[in-house]
Symmetry: C2
Subunit: 276 residues, 2 copies
């Protein structure tokens, strides 16, 4: 598990250079730096066009480690048709891209609500309805537990244990996206990764937790600049047989979003070798 990883085991989440590059530039950048995969956000995908993007990704020989993101089930306080339609489209886009999974950011509290159990129920209903279509389309659905600091406004599923409880009830075709930033602190993490097992470990995202963290959303660190023991966490998922790519997703408006994106990718590749 030690010794770091080469770019042939990396994927670039487009959020990492979202301020600098469009999707076509991200695809070219991955090819230029030998990065094996990509994980597009849907805004960049729509901007380029899904079919054109799928072709360009295929032509560049890149694997699609995930599509970010479906979900966002809770905001209006009910599962309405617009939310289901949007998630259906996300499933279809993931199928077109041949993505390893569709990553789900499930949504926080409904607007004006303090009723967390109600939000949890909405998430389960939304996932169940999306999953019906995803199974037919052959797309795996990956719940991404977000850090508890996002419980109110982004995702009310904040631990692997909660995500796996949902998976237990929802059945086949659904699992977890493990992002070290969101779960590194959890004393139950090792046990829950083991509980998940190979079939439900659908994505592994890396970056780092900075001390201090100056913003709740956009102050993630480059691997090695923070306190997360990434090789240890990578070891936990690999012990279960996870063979997906190590997807680099860094939100950083004070640092990495302001740099030359080729410098960002070169740093990603170097840090993957030395500290991941």
């Amino acid at each position: 598990m030690s010794g770091g990883i080469g770019p042939e085991r990396l994927s670039l989440n487009t959020a990492t250079v979202r301020e600098q590059w469009d999707l076509a530039q991200c695809i070219e950048g991955c090819a230029r730096h030998g990065i094996a995969g990509i994980s597009p956000w849907r805004d960049k995908l729509h901007e380029m066009g899904v079919d054109k993007a799928a072709r360009a990704i295929r032509d560049a020989g890149l694997r699609v480690s995930g599509l970010c993101r479906g979900g966002w089930f809770t905001e209006s306080g009910a599962i309405n048709q617009a939310v289901i339609d949007d998630n259906t489209r996300a499933v279809d886009e993931a199928a077109t891209l041949g993505a390893d999974c569709l990553v789900m950011v499930v949504g926080g509290l409904p607007r004006g609500s303090k009723d967390l159990p109600r939000a949890w129920d909405l998430v389960e209903e939304g996932l169940a309805r999306t999953l019906d279509h995803a199974r037919k389309a052959g797309v795996k659905v990956a719940i991404e537990p977000l850090h508890p600091m996002y419980a109110a406004d982004r995702a009310c599923v904040n631990t692997m244990a909660h995500a796996l409880d949902l998976c237990d009830r929802l059945g086949d075709g659904i699992g977890c996206a493990v992002d070290v930033y969101h779960v590194w602190w959890d004393p139950a993490l090792a046990a829950q990764i083991e509980r998940a097992g190979r079939d439900r470990l659908m994505a592994f995202h890396i970056c780092d937790w900075l001390v201090p963290t100056r913003d709740l959303l956009t102050d993630r660190g480059m691997m090695g600049d923070g306190v997360i023991d990434i090789p240890h966490l990578r070891g936990l998922v690999e012990t279960q047989g996870f063979e997906g790519l190590n997807e680099v997703e860094i939100f950083s408006d004070r640092d990495w979003w302001r740099r030359d994106p080729d410098e960002v990718l070169a740093t990603v590749v170097e840090r993957a070798r030395t500290v991941c």
Copy 2:
């Protein structure tokens, strides 16, 4: 559980007006607003002098819902005598004040370390050694699980489940301080409060989670201004027989720390009646 609470069931954590008032002013403020209790931070306590403060608090007829704080076991990477001595002094100060408990903020990762299990072990050792003295002094020790966003730099115990696992191993005289700000998001919370039971529920802290939260440390909200269902959480601890005060602890350098402290206390009293 509904209908709100009167000031005779409130305690003022001095952090709520820490920029405006010293401890003597906090004591007078509580008396003026009919707030039944106080929970001093140790810096303000030392500034006033422990014996003088204990006398003034007694003369004002206030209950001491807690002393903030002991702990901070991990920073140097070992449990050294200085840390034990400081916690011993904190225990003695809590005894002098007749505090309901000594609140423990256990510390994050050791400086330069990414080894979370090592930090957990240090915390357990530090608590065990402090507890020996606390039992003799008749002081209850309350582990405060902090929000996971503080795992690196303030406290690596971030859930009630983890705190109670420690309590199970450490035995009598140790329990939890439940601060709604730190634990409101946790899907295991209700079960863990039930697991804790009356004897291990030693403190209940209230404030609110703002959306958006603009700073990880100093952007807590006044009760009612955020998304936490405080009456529900209060109901959970009261169902277990908790009879302590509702301690108001608000870190707010953009808002409440800039206001007239009598306005802050009047707002606390009004919000306790209307939204807690």
